[in-house]
Amino acid sequence: MSSEKKDGAKRKGGSKTGVKAAAKPKIAVFKFASCDGCQLSLLDAEDELLAITDAVDIAYFPEASRAMLKGPYDIGFVEGSITTHHDAQRIQEVRRECKTLVTLGACATAGGIQALRNWKDVDEFIRVVYASPQFISTLKLSTPIAEHVPVDFELRGCPINKYQLIELITATLCGRKPNIPTNSVCLACKRKGNVCIAVARGIPCLGPVTHTGCGALCPSFDRGCYGCFGPMETPNTASLTERLRILGQTDDQLMRGFRGFNAWAWQFRRASEECERK
């Protein structure tokens, strides 16, 4: 990817776009504890990438470009959870540098799969895994960005849906609310014409309590929803748990079901702990 010159390329549409041509918004992408998959969604937006780089200055995006411009930034995207003291301080600086702060994906929004450590003894892991544990400095918990600083928008998913990312950028550029619904996966599943696999085949599916955004990907391929996008707006996990028991799920399976990429999102956390207690 070519790095954008600060005052370079003429923008398609110029001032007609509704964004002041004089100041292209500066965008920055920061990484914390994560796998980089969400940042890659931006690079994966092949068809729109040129238009995006035309419309914004990608000022700081180490994964994609060597150019690293200083802040402040108009939009800061944050990927990853907070797992070290150093990161806990760094996120404060990032927040100060960004007018709008958007978290990308399950790690930044809910603590990610690495939040599974939150139920375990991290010191024990360090002793077992590392040859020289004295060099490891880490926090006991993996926590979402919003537990540390105020967040303006959270994009869900593991990984995020690139169309939602583009929608968010587009909406922010023209000053409108992004069309990113928060209801269950089932609406998308039914609109797509899928036959519900939970009802027709007894396959356990987290769709009814999961935030939409993936386009009902797994149920379209005969797999129950894993809950990658985390809890929907009003998740009734207790009722779904009851139903999944009727479909033959054990408490252990249910506990693991809620303990996925969004294990530390409070509704899923509570549901998993209730299954664990039984």
């Binding site: 998308a188 009003t234 009851e242």
Partner: protein, 433 residues
């Protein structure tokens, strides 16, 4: 023959998938699945919408009899006439309504078992093509599509241009296998979407070009309650052709009744023979067996009862179980609500307005300035049931429920509208008290 097309339409390309942010595939699937078959210029004098108004002289058109081979010919004739034939078929371990090309695509020997939150496809020894009760999703999928682009606009030389605000041209479809309750649901949506001075052109174009081949039920699923509502199992009007499938010692055959001139024309083209008295008696006994339904909904005074029971304790009990997942409204053949989104592209020069099915179970549905007004599942379920069984009557002059039972089968939490009404009546404020 096709259709009403007072203004002959130029053939058009299959429409572009609407710009779903989440899933382009979803949009593509939700929209027209057919390709290439265009509405033909009008040759019939009448249109489908007025099917029920046609004074069809039943006395002079005795019901006819056709064989499965003639049904094959009927499907071929329709395809030849430019229709996309949508009928029952087996997909994803269920009966679904999808494009069919021949009798072999129909679910011969398959039946369905339905109960709250459970659906299973079963093989039976009966070779019937229509031996199931209802498809997983309703015909709404084809008449009131899940997603539709309303228009697109572009900024050109500083001005705002609407590129296309035509109703999306629909492929003419022949709907094969429409049950009595489903016809009632189509009539209900007709009243909502067409029965007013503001007609919905997207629904209207699909509805008016649709040819309807209804099929009477010979058995009911455990979730059916059309008898309580009065919507079935007998079909009385609103079809071009009405089939009743018979499989007995006299063979595998269909008694066919035409409901429109188009239907009469079609029957002539497949060389249908007159039905015999014995066949007509068999139709009556098939209907009688479908009318044996376990599920019942007591509709007497229901509207008044629900209006007086906003605080019935049963709502809280439902609220503990309801997932607010919206499967009930998505599956319901009469639910018509949609949401409209505007989307722009990154350059800010192209905009589109799309609508998609919405549900009174989402928070955004009741969002007014400052927040959502139905924050609890209790409020949302109450809205749904009260709309279906009470307010609909005030708005549109009929119940908003046709007794198809889909909301019972496809509710992942096994909530049963008939059971909830019963429980509420047992514990509630009596309408006559």
């Amino acid at each position: 023959m096709a259709t009403r097309a007072q203004t002959p339409r130029a053939p058009r390309k299959k429409r572009e998938p609407s710009p779903t942010r989440n899933s382009p595939r979803a949009a593509a699937e939700a929209t027209s699945k057919g390709n290439g078959s265009q509405p033909k210029p009008n040759s019939g004098k009448r249109n489908a919408k007025t099917a029920s108004a046609i004074e069809f002289d039943r006395a002079n058109h005795r019901p006819a009899l056709i064989t499965p081979e003639q049904l094959e010919k009927l499907i071929a004739t329709l395809i030849n006439d430019g229709f996309e034939v949508i009928g029952p078929t087996v997909r994803d371990e269920a009966i679904t309504y999808d494009p069919v090309k021949c009798v072999a695509d129909l679910p011969a020997g398959w039946t369905d078992e339905q109960e709250p939150a459970r659906y299973r496809l079963k093989k039976s020894d009966n070779p019937a093509l229509f031996g199931y009760s209802l498809g997983a999703q309703s015909w709404k999928t084809f008449l009131h599509p899940a997603e539709a682009r309303l228009f697109a606009a572009e900024k050109q030389n500083g001005a705002f241009h609407i590129l296309n605000n035509d109703p999306i041209p629909a492929v003419s479809r022949a709907l094969l296998g429409v049950r009595a309750c489903e016809l009632a649901a189509i009539r209900a949506q007709d009243r909502v979407l067409l029965g007013d001075k503001y007609r919905d052109p997207i629904y209207g174009s699909r509805r008016e070009s649709a040819l309807i081949i209804a099929v009477q039920c010979s058995h009911a699923a455990a979730t059916c309650f059309c008898v309580s509502i009065g919507s079935g199992p007998k079909v009385s009007d609103g079809f071009d052709l009405l089939l009743t499938e018979l499989v007995d010692a006299n063979g595998h055959r269909f008694v066919v009744e035409p409901g429109t001139d188009r239907g009469i024309g079609l029957l002539a083209r497949v060389d249908a023979k007159p039905a015999l008295e014995a066949d007509l008696a068999a139709v009556e006994s098939a209907l009688a067996s479908a009318a044996q339904q376990q599920r019942k909904l007591d509709t007497a005074g229901l509207k008044e009862f629900l209006y007086e029971n906003f605080e019935n304790p049963q709502w809280d009990k439902i609220s503990a179980r309801c997932l607010s997942c919206a499967n009930c409204t998505m599956s319901c053949p009469t639910c018509f609500c949609t949401t409209v989104d505007d989307a722009t592209d990154v350059t800010g020069t192209h905009a589109e307005r799309c609508r998609r099915w919405d549900s009174c179970f989402t928070q955004s549905f009741s969002y007014i300035h400052g927040g959502s007004i139905r924050t609890s599942a209790k409020a949302r379920y109450r809205q749904w049931m009260t709309h279906k069984l009470a307010a609909w009557t005030d708005q549109f002059g009929s119940l908003g429920c046709v007794g198809c039972g889909r909301c019972i089968t496809w509710c992942p939490a096994a909530i049963d509208i008939t059971e909830e009404v019963r429980a509420m009546r047992e514990g509630g404020v009596r309408a006559d008290a």
